[in-house]
């Protein structure tokens, strides 16, 4: 009992740390990756005693991201505008961050691992209704943004808040429909079971990943996920050319940092969810419990513990690759217009999602893959 409790606490903290570190990685990518894409040099000023320069290394901007920016943000004046609702103004960033942070705990990052006789499921909380929990926490993400926009007593902030709210509840629907078709395919709401259901191969070589069973749902989830995390091309709530900074115009210092962190952590969360639902989670193609069964009949034995650890590595690699992909999307596409955004959500994604659910239902019933 106590072992399980300690293991659960460690897993939950580990998962949240992974999420936060991915957010920092995304922030770094936003500095240097965008510079790479736009043929700039990017952040290259901050240094400690010029050590790297003396050694002849290029400045990678790591000190900018890890030390200079956070120190700057957290030592700035925490400004609350005149006439703002002080309590809600302070509460809003945490209201935005909290649902994202508590969603990390249901992501399975590895198979069951046995250490010293204890079987440990590599998932912080193995909820039977995991997908419902996911939808519940995603639904609560709206309030932080909406309240931030309202409590700032600023018309740009309020406009940003309203845009964000409308956008998030619209795209939640498409996301929910994508999740529904995945649930119908695997016949369970448990995220760990969904990942287990993606093991094995078709035709001897194709992994049974969600992206191959539900390609349309993958695209729907990807688009809706980017829209949920309010990143370009769906960053209308904070479009700087129209609304200054949208719903967090009136935030400064640490509170603004929390909002930025929320956006980045949400992006990391989307990458994790895409991995879990569509890229096989911790599954490695052709790797069974005893070793690699390569297509063509070749077999390579791998010890059981190594299989589990390889699974964790595979999960992290997939998530990191998706994070980089999402970063590339951010620096490639221009922003939508608001009516285009709404049209895409309601006339594009939602009917496609409904169609996908219908087709999935027919296939599931016709093939009799559900009891």
């Amino acid at each position: 009992m106590t072992v399980e409790l300690i293991a659960g606490a460690i897993k939950a903290i580990l998962m949240i740390l992974i999420g936060l570190n991915l957010a920092i990685f995304l922030l770094y990518f936003e500095r240097k990756g965008s510079a790479l894409i736009q043929d700039r040099i990017g952040s290259n000023r901050a240094t400690i005693t010029g050590l790297g320069k003396r050694l002849g290394m290029p400045n990678l901007g790591i000190i900018n991201t890890l030390i200079a920016d956070p120190v700057k943000l957290f030592t700035k004046e925490d400004f609350v505008p005149d006439g703002a609702d002080k309590f809600l103004h302070t509460l809003a960033p945490f209201l935005a961050l909290f649902p994202v942070m508590i969603t990390f705990v249901i992501i399975p990052f590895g198979d069951t691992i046995s250490i010293a006789g204890h079987k440990i499921d590599l998932q912080a909380t193995n909820l039977n209704a995991g997908a419902l929990y996911l939808l519940a926490t995603l639904g609560l993400g709206v309030y932080g943004v909406a309240i931030a926009g309202w409590a700032s007593n600023n018309r740009w902030a309020l406009l940003g808040g309203i845009r964000a709210t409308a956008q998030m509840i619209s795209y939640e629907l498409a996301m929910g429909l994508a999740i529904v078709s995945v649930i119908m395919t695997f016949g369970t709401l448990n995220l760990q079971e969904i990942v287990r259901g993606q093991g094995g191969v078709w035709f001897g070589f194709l992994p049974r990943w969600g992206i191959f069973t539900q390609p349309l749902a993958f695209i729907l989830f990807l688009v809706a996920g980017v829209a949920e995390s309010k990143r370009v091309p769906f960053d209308l709530p904070e479009s700087e050319s129209e609304l200054i900074l949208g719903y967090f115009t009136e935030y400064s210092g640490g509170k603004q940092a929390v909002f930025m962190l929320t956006d980045l952590a949400e992006q990391a969360l989307v990458a994790m969810l895409l991995t879990t639902f569509f890229l096989g989670g911790w599954q490695i193609p052709w790797l069974m419990r005893d070793g690699f069964h390569l297509p063509g009949g070749a077999f390579l034995a791998v010890p059981a513990l190594a299989v589990s650890l390889l699974g964790i590595v595979a999960f992290l690699v997939k998530v990191l690759a998706l994070c980089i992909f999402l970063g590339l999307v951010r620096w490639t596409l221009p922003r939508f217009r608001y009516d285009q955004l709404m049209r895409l959500g309601w006339k594009g994604l939602v009917p496609l999602g409904l169609f996908n659910v219908l087709v999935t239902a027919f296939v599931v019933v016709a093939t009799g893959s559900v009891q």
């Binding site: 609702d85 039977n128 209704a129 419902l132 609560l140 309030y143 309240i147 309202w150 309203i162």
Partner: protein, 191 residues
Amino acid sequence: MPPFLYLFLGALAIVSALGVVIQRNPIHSLLSLISTLMIIAILFIGEDAVVVGFLQIIVYAGAIMVLFLFVIWLLNLQAESGPTGHIVLKIFGSLAAAALATELFLFLAAPHLQVKRFHEPAGYGSLESLAGKLFTDYLVAFEVTSVLLLAAVVGAVALARRIPNAAGEGSSDPRAAGAIRAAEASPRVQR
């Protein structure tokens, strides 16, 4: 769920429910309402009704309360500066509150009321049991409800639909388009 946790959450729910009524600012009231709904959802989950708890969060806290927020914004409700309302309203309100309090007191103080621990069967409140009930015992009611909701959705879309008019511009109200045409035809409009 241990009793002390149940009592703590119950007290919290009552405090935030009081917050809905007492606070002057409609947004503060709304947030209190959301927190009340959340605490009730946690109570559901603690008592093994996991699916009902999560559905409560998804549907009420996550969706309907957002609509409330939009309505408050649209009506531009401001914080009330002081007690308002007609004297008759106040008298009837007090009477109703007193009646409700008496009723609750009489019900809870009744000697026949005994708290019985209900031992639920395994899997009670899970998604499987809920879905099993919905698709066997209550299939007709379930389908009728979904048809009703579908009718409401179709009705809402039909009401909000833009009617294309002769001018070729989408407008929600044909009379408005007519007014625009009249204004364009009027000689006083300078171009």
